[in-house]
């Protein structure tokens, strides 16, 4: 009996491994192509003549003397001072995530523990709020922000990003809080804690898988945001995505597309560290949380 179930297990495992491998190739493929191409010139990487130019670097050789060049990176980081945008992004994203998680966690917890109908309607309202296209919201913000002289500041964008992403944050955290057994904080309250103390001492230690996942999404939403950051930040305060967009040129004027490619590749590297850190936290959250009875 054990042999049959073992072989059944392993065919499933083989299929699973194959499937995951195919996905990893598809997921990483374009990015690896981009990394390779970031060391070429525009004539190679964005070539209509022959796509193999990007592999051999024909024009790169012709224009810079070698098959690989750092021109894109130099242009982005030194000429266009992309590092400023990286600093701006770090500040804005850090505060957005921290504030978003703080107010979202207590809000999501309240919604999960409420037990009254109005909690459901607040969640529905949040869903409707999320359905509003960001571009319309941002168009509406601009005139008041100019009138009150707060346009272009980092703090304004932070507040807007926090508010706009609250519906998503609330829903995600609420669905994770629903999984934490009610008896944990209820028994703490029976023991004499206030709701907030129960939350702080009982729930907080076990909420990390959900909070970190939500934090990751808050981070990615703020990091990748274009609609809000492109319209509400002045040039010195710009984050990375609008800065990259500005390297691309327009219909009438050629831009520096390779700067954009290099910038995008170099901004993915720190995210690697973030993800590696994140995935370890998730797993340790498992041992701290759900196994406890």
């Amino acid at each position: 009996m054990t042999t049959i179930s073992e072989t059944r297990l392993s065919t499933l495992q083989v299929v699973s491994y194959f499937f995951v491998t195919v996905w990893l190739v598809i997921a990483a493929g374009p990015f690896l192509w981009t990394v390779w191409g970031s060391f070429k010139v525009q004539g190679d990487f964005f070539s209509k003549a022959d796509w193999t130019n990007a592999i051999y670097g024909i024009f790169t050789q012709r224009e810079t003397g070698a098959a690989f060049t750092f021109n894109g990176y130099y242009g982005a980081w030194i000429v266009e001072e992309f590092w400023r945008n990286v600093v701006n992004t770090s500040i804005i994203v850090f505060f957005t995530v921290v504030i978003s998680l703080t107010i979202g966690t207590i809000g999501g917890y309240a919604l999960a523990r409420s037990g009254y109908r109005y909690a459901f309607w607040i969640l529905m309202l949040a869903l409707v709020f999320r359905a509003m296209p960001h571009i319309t919201l941002v168009s509406g913000y601009m005139l008041p922000f100019f009138e009150w002289n707060i346009w272009g500041l980092k703090i304004t964008t932070i507040v807007v990003l926090v508010a706009i992403n609250q519906p998503f944050t609330l829903w995600m955290l609420h669905s994770f809080f629903l999984k934490i057994p009610k008896d944990m904080d209820e028994s703490a309250m029976i023991d004499g804690c206030t709701q907030f103390q129960a939350f702080r001492y009982v729930i907080v230690p076990v909420m990390w898988p959900g909070v970190i996942t939500t934090g990751l999404f808050s981070f990615l939403l703020a990091y990748n945001d274009y609609a809000v950051t492109s319209m509400l930040l002045s040039k010195p305060n710009e984050t990375m995505v609008p800065a990259v967009a500005s390297f691309l040129g327009t219909v009438q004027v050629q831009g520096n597309i390779m700067f954009a490619v290099a910038a995008v590749v170099s901004s993915t590297a720190p995210l690697f560290l973030l993800i590696m850190f994140f995935q370890r936290q998730i797993v340790s959250g498992l041992t701290a949380g759900a196994v406890k009875g």
Partner: protein, 414 residues
């Protein structure tokens, strides 16, 4: 003794004239805040203004960003406006004027603009609303070597000649799709219609009103002109804009293209293309159509405007700083960055196409309040015709219906 006096007086004169130049920054200690798009030419103009006058100004900021048009109206509405000056083009000036956000510059031109040429002044009913410093347009790019190889004499000067040349190139087996145009659905495809509509003698609106006039003989002729060229254009043309057409050109895949003159320098340089391509590229006037005389092009200018909702002293300082930078010295330094309208510009080969097109009598992109609504309607409703799903008349009727809906919503029609 005598020599020293001469030296002294020359030195003094030199000092005085530079001092006189420096005082052309207008009132000192004021705030100058410039908004513009992030092009090399605008960087040059704003940068020159900054290096001349940031010392005498109390505050001098230059903000060049890539979505100026999307936020400039809101930025200039409050009082005081967020910026004192915006660098605009034909279509964006009307956008600001529709909301009454820029001020007339006649008195400032008198005071600080004596070195400007009269054709740099953009006037509406006699009021100077902007000072232009560079021009642009679409025009024809040709590969003289391929044309010669296919047995074509010279360079095509009309749509019919382009079609004949393309057929010869195809028959000779050199290229299947020798023509390239910016036909991306949206702004670009609307603009292509404008080019050939004007070449066919069309007027977008009925005289003196906001009523559309595109569903006419000229409109159908325009669509047919474009269709005849599309026969020889890359099949993906409805998704191709300047980056793609320029890449097609530099990759040596096309022999004739209608592209922007402002991309001329990028096309002619030795980056991205082989010497065979760039040395055989000729920039010439845009083609005419149907035995007309107007080239299929729209002329564009970029210029300086001054906001209305700012103190007069700031306005004066901003104007003086920017206009003071439009000198032949500035142009000598940045000659190839644009097709300058400033005195003393020496057009290089990259500017030849725009100069020839302007000289041939091309029409400027109209400065009409509701032009953008029409352009938008053209950009979205002509697709069905180009895909072969609709007749020319039906497509133009759709354009007019879409335009009328938008114009009614905006208050231009009842």
């Amino acid at each position: 003794m005598f020599f020293r006096k001469i030296l002294l007086s020359t030195a003094l004169t030199a000092l005085m004239s530079s001092a006189a130049f420096a005082s052309d920054c207008g009132p000192s200690g004021k705030s100058v805040r410039i908004l513009g798009s992030d092009f090399p030419a605008i960087q040059a103009v704003a940068g020159t203004a900054e290096s001349n006058c940031s010392g005498s100004a109390g505050e001098f900021t230059v903000n060049l960003r890539d979505n100026t048009r999307d936020m400039m109206n809101q930025a200039l509405t409050p009082n005081p406006a967020e910026y004192t000056s915006v660098i605009v083009a034909n279509s964006t000036l009307t956008q600001l004027m529709n909301d009454g956000l820029v001020r007339p510059l006649n008195d400032l031109v008198e005071k600080y603009g004596s070195h400007l040429k009269p054709n740099q002044l953009i006037t509406i009913d006699g009021k100077v609303m902007a000072v232009a410093f560079m021009a642009n347009s679409q025009h024809l790019f040709s590969r003289t070597d391929i044309l010669k190889q296919a047995g074509v004499n010279g360079v095509p000067s009309s749509v019919e000649e382009m079609v004949a040349a393309a057929e010869k190139i195809r028959a000779a087996g050199i290229m299947e799709h020798p023509i390239a145009m910016n036909m991306k659905v949206g702004w670009n495809v609307g603009e292509v219609f404008n080019l050939f509509f004007f070449a066919n003698g069309g007027e977008l609106f009925k005289k003196g009103s906001a009523e559309p006039n595109v569903n006419s003989a000229a409109g159908i002729a325009a669509l047919n002109s474009v269709k005849s060229l599309l026969e020889y254009t890359h099949p993906d043309h409805l998704s191709q804009a300047s980056n793609e057409t320029q890449a097609l050109w530099e990759g040596g895949k096309v022999a004739m293209a209608i592209m922007w003159g402002s991309r001329g320098a990028a096309v002619l340089d030795d980056e991205g293309s082989t010497a065979e391509v760039s040395s055989n590229t000729l920039l010439s006037a845009a083609p005419t159509a149907n035995n007309g005389s107007i080239p299929a092009a729209t002329l564009w200018w970029d210029g300086i405007t001054i906001a209305k909702n700012i103190p007069d002293a700031d306005a004066e300082a901003s104007f003086a700083a920017l206009v003071g930078g439009l000198t032949s010295d500035m142009m000598k330094e940045h000659n190839d960055k644009a097709i300058w309208l400033v005195d003393g510009f020496k057009p290089g080969p990259a500017a030849a196409g725009v100069s020839e097109t302007a000289a041939a009598g091309a029409k400027p992109y109209p400065m009409i309040p509701y032009i953008n609504l029409m352009h938008n309607a053209l950009g979205s409703e002509l697709v069905d015709f180009y895909k072969g799903n609709e007749s020319a008349e039906d497509a133009l009727a759709d354009v007019e219906a879409a335009y009328v809906t938008a114009a009614k919503g905006a208050g231009y029609l009842n």
